[in-house]
């Protein structure tokens, strides 16, 4: 690891034989030398190269927001992990990848399982179903695709390991030292253990799927998440934060719900939005009306229909990977003339899922756009198709948008809470292990019940391949312990790259 170390400007630099110098001299071609520039061979160069490639369209469209994404990724190892799903996919599939490990179940199990695509602890959150019950599920399917199930298991276990390491470092750095810090290896191993146990349970009894409910929340962390969701939802938190009452009419709020901040990027600073909403112009409002109308046909329950659009705002600051993407909050009139049942919907731009390099092309994948992909796979992978009754999609040509409800009942887990709660004793190490285990179980249930690209459900095939789960636990843990430190190092590399090349990594 280390900063980019450019080789001296010459044709023949770096390791390996240099036929060019001899050839060039032999031919007397001085122009050969003059045309050459410095070349890089390190992982930092690869990281910079791929980060720019993956965000090139966003850097062209809005370099400032994309620079904000890089700055946000630099703030912690876990934020870095959230912004580098593409790098993870390259590393586990590409020749020369730092995470290219043996796949233990592709030969014996299915390789076209419906995947979350970017499974990690902060993509787990609460939902209020159509019957008002709260549950916990994966909540971000922007990267959903088809592939080997181990891909999701590895990513989720890695996410827990990075979260654990980050939390441990934070606790160690705090004045009181670690209060109850879990073993990160054990946390990583808990994910595949939970996954395998869920598959075995479902194989024995298809009705035994893990469904998290308020009444029987498994562990203190999910219990706290659900309690917060119930409180915030009942209090109408989202409506309160993003709208205001103007007499007896509700209108969108414009301003900073939470103030933006400046993040140090080397010697410079980069503005990073936390939670800001801005007004939209009339053409955008008309556009959003069209998108909402178009999305009606894609909702699972067509009886749920938005009322009159009361207004909309453009949201800045949400997400890490999706930070530069367009995201609007649209306020629509509720069923009654009262303001308490008004609904806030989020219309979010969708992009392609990160490529799984070399993975079998899903030529029979049952979607023809990112809207059907994200929404379709969300319904396949979540516990209930009505986890979000407002879920739908719309598109404008090749650009797709997902529509969902924005409500206090939908509450995501935040890794930053771990250090605080462990430090004050609210949670203990076993709670983290329980959370990792139940996350593995939710992932196992999601994979098992979702249809593969070929159309059949994957549960039986995965269960048969995984068996008692010993090999899955061993391989996943081995992978995480080998590759995890690379992620931490890559985060440090990003800091150095931003310092050396600026907020856009030198793009333009």
């Amino acid at each position: 690891m280390g900063p980019a170390v450019p080789h001296p400007p010459a044709c023949c630099s770096g390791p390996g034989p240099c036929l060019g110098r001899g050839l060039g001299q032999g031919l007397g071609l001085a122009v050969v030398v003059s045309a050459c520039g410095p070349v890089e061979t390190g992982r930092d160069a690869w990281l910079r190269h791929t980060l720019v490639l993956d965000n090139q369209d966003l850097l062209e469209r809005d370099p400032d927001l994309t620079a904000g994404k890089f700055a946000k990724m630099s703030e912690s190892p876990f934020a870095f992990l959230r912004g580098t799903a593409g790098q993870f996919a390259r590393d586990v599939f590409e020749a020369g990848g730092a995470g290219l490990h043996r796949w233990g179940f592709v030969e014996s199990g299915p390789d076209d399982v419906a995947l979350i695509g970017d499974a990690h602890p902060e993509n787990i959150g609460s939902y209020r179903r159509g019957n008002d019950e709260l549950t916990v599920d994966f909540d971000d399917f922007d990267a959903a695709t088809y592939g080997p199930f181990e891909f999701d298991v590895r990513r989720l276990a890695l996410g827990f390991w990075v979260a654990c390491e980050q939390t441990g470092a934070s606790l160690a750095a705090s004045a009181g030292g670690p209060v109850s810090s879990p073993s990160c290896e054990a946390v990583a191993a808990a994910v595949p253990r939970g996954y395998a146990d869920e598959l075995a349970a479902l194989a024995a009894d298809p009705q035994a799927a893990t469904i998290v409910t308020e009444d029987a929340a498994p562990g203190a962390i999910l219990a706290a998440l659900l309690a917060d969701a119930r409180d915030d939802g009942d209090d109408g938190e989202s409506l309160a934060a993003y709208t205001r009452l103007d007499g007896d009419v509700r209108i969108p709020f414009v301003g900073d719900v939470a103030p933006a901040r400046l993040v140090a990027v080397g010697a410079r600073t980069q503005l990073v939005y936390e939670d800001s909403v801005r007004a939209v112009d009339a053409p955008t409002l008309a556009r959003l009306r069209r998108l909402l109308a178009q999305s009606a046909a894609t909702r699972i329950d067509p009886r749920i229909a938005p009322g009159v659009v009361l207004g909309a705002t453009l949201r800045y600051g949400a997400g890490v990977s999706s930070y530069p993407l367009m995201r609007w909050y649209v306020l629509v009139d509720g069923p009654s003339s009262q303001t308490h049942d008004d609904v806030l919907l989020e219309v979010k731009e969708l992009r392609d899922a990160p490529v799984l390099p070399g993975a079998r092309r899903p030529i029979d994948a049952p979607f023809d756009g990112n809207g059907p992909r994200v929404v379709g796979l969300q319904r396949e992978l979540q516990g209930f198709v009505d986890d979000d009754p407002w879920l739908g999609f719309a598109d404008e040509g090749a650009v797709a948008f997902r529509v969902r409800e924005l409500t206090g009942y939908q509450k995501g887990f935040a890794v930053a809470d771990l250090a605080v709660a462990l430090a004050d004793g609210t949670w203990v190490a076993d709670d983290v292990l329980a959370f990792a285990t139940i996350s593995g179980r939710i992932l196992g249930r999601s994979h098992a019940r979702a249809r593969r690209s070929s159309g059949s459900t994957a549960g039986a095939a995965i269960a048969e391949a995984v068996g008692d789960g010993t090999l899955l636990v061993d391989l996943t843990t081995e992978f995480v312990l080998d590759y995890g430190p690379t992620v931490l190092d890559d985060h440090a590399r990003l800091l150095e790259l931003l310092a050396a090349h600026g907020p856009t990594l030198g793009y333009r």
Partner: protein
């Protein structure tokens, strides 16, 4: 599928021959075109002399007396009207017939500064077919369009020892990237620039010098493909795994001596290929030496043994990641068989500067029944990370092929059908799924159609 192909081949075998080009006609001459890969001649290996031109011939040169026989229509290149026919024929044979693409030694059209100073070229290539087989045990079948290209260019000869012109070539690609659904109207086939460049050639005694500038073809692929006759079935190993991109923006300079017995190529390009603009300060510099120790004009066609060596120093992407190549190849072309070996070593590959990779390609093709039946075999050995144990990928292919019409190099005309099989096998450590070899191994049967043609429109060219 193969049965259908064989029926097609057998059916065609019953048809009478259309035309057989003279040795001169076999001198396909393309100037500034994308890498062609036609054989110099399709004449029977028997002792039969070349047949006379058929009225149905589509070749202007095959329909008319050879240009060498006309004092006002000298052969291309350095031949002059004053040369006796035998000398001109020898020179033509020595300088042209052995390769379809003889630039800068020769141009595609019959040109002279007074009577025929210009020529318009129109070219089309289509490779399409059907594949059926298994990948990782899962059955796959599809119709494919592997290549659809169209090109046009203008040639101009303002002086005896100088030609210039421009080429624009278009190709089709899928509009969405790998695994992407963000394409144009789904994942439609769209058209993009393959090549777009100006070129000039000057002749000084035995030396021919050529310069191209713009979106220029990769010279390594162009040179080695002169000894590869079955591009319609599969690409060369270096092209297949993208050791080299087919075209890039920059310039290439060629010095060719003694009728191309020695070619020195120097290429300076951005290094980002066709898909990206320049993203770093460095330029890719490639130097290639081609020596042809055997260059013989046999009555049935040329016999050429070529030795190629080259090195590319370059980088890719905003971070100037090392992307170097060392390459060597031997190719052999004759009226009866083609064969060759190509090896490319990568210092930096796939955006990873520290990766060492290599690829080895071996090919052979020959005609059993002239025109009607030929066979080919090809083997590619690819290691995309030399540090990963047991990560070799083997690609083995073989096919029978038949030319529906007699091939004419000068027109680049070919309608060829391949019926073949290809196996792709992965080592235990090979990406993308190490440890899961059988999940990656692929078996496929191919029925492939190769369609190519070149029309020349100019004062000394007859109808295309």
């Amino acid at each position: 599928m193969i049965g259908v192909a064989m029926l097609l081949v057998l059916g065609l075998a019953a048809a009478p021959p259309v035309d057989t080009p003279s040795p001169r006609d076999a001198a396909a001459v393309t100037s500034g075109e994308s890498p062609p890969s036609e054989p110099p001649s399709s004449e029977p290996p028997s002792g039969d002399p070349p047949s006379s031109e058929s009225p149905s011939s589509e070749s202007p040169s095959s329909e008319s007396p050879s240009s060498e026989s006309r004092p006002d229509a000298p052969p291309l290149g350095k031949s002059t009207p004053a040369e006796p026919r035998s000398t001109a024929t020898r020179r033509w044979s020595a300088s042209g017939p052995w390769v379809p693409n003889a630039w800068p030694t020769q141009q595609s059209c019959a040109l002279d500064p007074v009577d025929a100073p210009w020529c318009l070229l129109i070219r089309a290539d289509v490779f399409t077919g059907a594949r059926i087989g298994t990948i990782g045990g899962a059955r796959q079948s599809e119709f494919r369009l592997d290549r659809a290209e169209a090109a046009t260019g203008l040639l101009w000869k303002p002086a005896t020892r100088f030609e210039t012109g421009g080429i624009v070539a278009l190709e089709s690609i899928r509009s969405a990237g790998p695994q992407s659904v963000t394409g144009i109207d789904g994942d439609s086939l769209i058209v993009r620039l393959l090549e777009a460049y100006g070129h000039a050639a000057a002749h000084f005694g035995p030396i021919d010098v050529g310069l191209r500038a713009g979106l220029v073809p990769e010279r390594w692929i162009e040179q080695v493909e002169k000894g590869y006759d079955t591009r319609g079935f599969d690409a060369l190993a270096s092209d297949r795994v993208r050791m080299f991109d087919r075209a890039d923006i920059g310039a290439s300079l060629v010095a060719s001596g003694w009728d191309s017995r020695v070619d020195l190529d120097l290429e300076i390009v951005n290094g980002e290929g066709r898909a990206q603009r320049e993203r770093n300060r460095g330029k890719n510099t490639t130097a290639i030496v081609t020596v042809r120790p055997v260059l013989r004009a046999h009555p049935r066609g040329p016999i050429v043994l070529a030795l190629h060596g080259g090195f590319r120093d370059g980088s890719v992407g905003i971070a100037s990641i090392a992307d170097r190549r060392g390459a060597a190849a031997v190719s052999f072309a004759s009226p009866w068989v083609y064969g060759g070996v190509e090896y490319v070593h990568a210092l930096g590959f796939g955006g990873r500067g520290d990766v060492r990779a290599n690829t080895l390609g071996v090919w052979a093709s020959g005609r059993i029944l002239p025109r009607w039946l030929g066979v080919m075999a090809k083997y590619d050995r690819v290691v995309l990370d030399l540090e990963a144990p047991d990560s070799t990928i083997h690609v083995v292919g073989c096919a029978a092929f038949s030319d529906v019409f007699e091939h004419i190099d000068r027109n680049r005309r070919r309608v060829r059908v391949y019926a073949g099989y290809q196996f792709e096998g992965y080592g235990q450590g090979a990406a993308p799924l190490p440890g899961a070899t059988t999940a990656q191994d692929a078996h496929r049967f191919l029925l492939q159609l190769e369609l190519r043609g070149l029309a020349r429109i100019g004062p000394k060219e007859q109808r295309p």
